[in-house]
Amino acid sequence: MKPQSCVNINKEWDIVGARQLGRDIAKKMGFGTVDQARIATAISELARNIYLYAEEGQICFEVIDNLPQRGMRMIAVDTGPGIKDIGQVMQDGFSTSGGLGAGLPGVKRLMDEFDLQSEASKGTRINAVKWLR
């Protein structure tokens, strides 16, 4: 009951590819327009982080079908430099790349569940879920 599809992220255009695939899956599952936008935006942020900081990685999508709860899980994995201070990156406005610093705290607000694991010089794994309402 867990069909999974993954997208490799190693070039800029993969960010668009990942969010398009994620939006398609969300649409097929019956998510409304606003949640589709939330999911696509969260994927875009996660994919960009992989591309900017780790250079390559993968985002996988999983349909969760544990009746009565249905949802969509996205797992972003990379083997990049890792995050030294997780507390810091989860603060609004913190950025090392000159961005808006809205990325990770934003993703957490867009999703219903959010879990971040990271080890210096080993990589980062983010697991986020949006439940179908």
Binding site: T33, T41, L100, A102
Partner: protein, 118 residues
């Protein structure tokens, strides 16, 4: 991929119809400033009716292009931001506070007229 920029009298009109990747967004920023410079336009409307997603990067590029154009002396109005996009931007924590907006292209042009005192 390049986003077309149309000139109408003293204004520039842009309707973003495609999925925007980072390079297209940066290219658009350059193209727009260049076009403002060459045409001497005093007002710009960027219509986002067909845009289904604005993430933090695209939001930064749009916010920056408004400020950059302002520095050059041209006013930019963003129009047609979809309800889902507005909700997502606020969830992300992006408020685009100093960016003039209007409901649609028509309202955007009215806003430009007012701001420029034409």
């Amino acid at each position: 991929m390049r986003i077309p920029i149309l000139k109408l009298h003293n204004y520039l009109l842009i309707s973003i119809q495609t999925e925007i990747d980072d390079n297209t967004a940066i290219q658009f920023q350059e193209d727009l400033l260049d076009k403002i410079h060459k045409s001497g336009s005093s007002g710009v409307v960027i219509d986002l009716t067909s845009v289904e997603i604005i993430d933090s990067f695209i939001a930064k590029v749009l916010g920056d292009v408004v400020t950059m154009s302002d520095l050059m002396g041209a006013k930019v109005v963003l129009t047609g931001i979809q309800p889902a996009v507005a909700m997502t931007l606020i969830d992300l924590g992006i408020h685009l506070k100093n960016v003039p907006t209007a409901l649609d292209l028509e309202q955007g042009l009215i806003k430009l007229h007012q701001e420029l005192g034409v």
